[in-house]
Symmetry: C2
């Protein structure tokens, strides 16, 4: 007893182990382990004794030890490629984070946040992932040719994308209905009688941006309006790009009477330029954005935009991932979330 006592108090602040609990409860390690993990095959009596001992000692399982033997990590990574300062300027990401965190909070899964900006950090991430240090990966804002995603597929790590790479995305993903949202936005403009509707696209190596462009095109078609190459400008979702492209469009197509931007930020940039150019919004030029970020409520005038349920997207992603971790399978799943046109004063 004194030896055991010695061992346990050798370092004063040592946390209690399974062994210590077992000893106090007068049972074996196995039984304590079963109780802790809610495994069956424990008598009510034993369970009660063990639970009392756990409470008394304030026992908390050592996760590392558990991971070492089970090779589960009880952690998932949320990867955000954050090349363009977008994390801060676009609440989209913050909302994804919230959704993911809230869905995870009922679990005892930990959320690892990994921001990837530089090539070096990509490299590190690759090593990291091949080290199997998480049970699964969530990835948002993927570009079509992202090698990290291929790596994910190769090592067979459960993964869910926020935004697919193409229509035939093999991995599980959660996607907003980009096409439908854009379509509704542009249809709204067309119904107002606008006939020279321009669009500012996102980066076209992202499927989301391409789908929004498709929605634009399809709505034009349905409205019997021609698709004019010169009314399409390429942006990258950022406000600066929105402003820059708007300037170009105004120069090339001075008679445009509406703009559909693939992000609120770009729409905000465009509105700034339009105002500077003396165009009244929405009278002379109507503007519709995409995202329904807080910015949209504060532009002048408040912006009509397409709401995408970002937080719900995060939640759905986490849910899919948890399922995939629990029951790995070859078949993947998709979730499409509906978008919604929010009418304000800019269109």
């Amino acid at each position: 007893m004194s030896q055991v006592g010695d061992k346990q108090t050798r370092r004063g602040q040592d946390r209690p182990t399974l062994e210590a609990v077992a000893q106090l409860a007068g049972v074996g390690r196995g039984t304590v382990s079963r109780v802790v993990n809610g495994a069956p095959g424990v008598s009510d009596q034993a369970r009660a004794v063990v639970e009392r001992a756990i409470a008394e000692l304030g026992y908390v399982p050592n996760r590392a030890a558990r991971t070492l033997v089970t090779s589960r990590t009880d952690a998932v990574a949320l990867v955000i490629p954050e090349t363009e300062t977008r994390l801060a300027s676009e609440p989209f990401f913050a909302e994804i984070i919230r959704g993911v965190a809230s869905e995870l909070s009922d679990t005892d899964m930990q959320l690892l946040l990994i921001l990837v900006r530089t090539a070096q950090e990509r490299e590190r991430l690759a090593t990291y992932l091949s080290g199997h240090r998480v049970d699964g990966v969530l990835m948002v804002s993927v570009h079509s040719e992202d090698p990290i995603v291929d790596l994910l597929e190769r090592i067979g790590l459960p993964a869910v994308l926020g935004g697919r790479r193409s229509e035939l995305e093999p991995l599980s993903y959660v996607n907003p209905d980009n096409l439908g949202g854009a379509w509704a936005a542009v249809r709204h403009l067309a119904r107002q009688g606008r006939t020279r509707i321009a669009t500012i696209t996102g980066p076209l190596d992202m499927e989301g941006a391409r789908s929004r462009l498709d929605g634009y095109r399809r709505a034009l078609e349905e409205a019997g309006l021609p698709f004019v190459e010169e009314l399409v400008g390429n942006g990258d979702f950022s406000e600066e790009a929105g402003a820059r492209v708007m300037r170009q469009l105004l120069l090339a197509q001075p008679d445009l009477d509406a703009v559909f931007a693939a992000s609120d930020l770009m729409a905000a940039g465009a509105m700034r330029v339009l105002r500077q150019a003396g165009r009244r919004i929405p009278d002379e030029v109507a503007v519709v954005g995409f995202d329904d970020s807080p910015v949209a409520r504060h532009t002048d005038p408040p912006m009509t935009t397409v709401r995408q349920p970002s937080e719900e997207m995060g939640r759905a992603m986490a849910r899919l991932l948890l399922e995939e971790i629990a029951a790995p399978s070859r078949t993947h799943r998709q979730v499409i979330l509906t978008t919604e046109l929010v009418l304000r004063d800019s269109a």
Copy 2:
């Protein structure tokens, strides 16, 4: 050999271990470990052989095993109490995250994100922290009486706060110069000849909010203006609160000619109400916010506000924490970051 071979291929996708590397390199485990950890006392020759073997096998150390023996976790937690949807609406948090992540990316520290909203999640966090599952904790947006912080102190986990709890905060913290920022803002208003300057405060159980109020008070004093109780309204940093309080202030003090709000969001809400009330900004009522969030650039008119270096704050927090983890000590450190008045059109 065949036995060893069996062991290694039992599960085909087993990742290589230290042992495997040692075997391939023809050295002992100890030597490989030393190489991996950059420890001294390895001949150049041995190092070279081992490095080649590591590369060949694509060896990545098993973190759990390492944690188990060293009881370092190589992870820090960033705790964000997120009662009020603020994570998404205030880019402040996103910028903190960016700062922290970027400072950590040179290290091989992992970043765990913990959002705490409900009492239950607080409980879970407490368990979590007493489980020593991270090497250190970063905590932002702390309220004065937060029991979690006391817990942190008690268990002696390295911790850095973003925003202190009081002027005599014992823990390490990084704080913006709230007082100075508020002071500069209100002085600016006073110098414009404004004499009925109202303020909308943050939640006064946060030191940051109190300091901003102090700065307001001090600037009034210096300008020879009286401190009028009725010109002070209590908010909670949110836009809704800003609007609500502004309405009350207008009712009680119709002749006010300026408002200093302790956050951009509240300022935005206030501006909305002022506009609705037909007050011209800044001619009749000047408005200054605090944060310099993206919203400030998009209000009508663009908002004069106090810039606080949020990302730098995150970076500084991470830096302090890393130091504290590397060299634990009883003495804690403080960093105060300067703020800066950004002049736009609202004041």
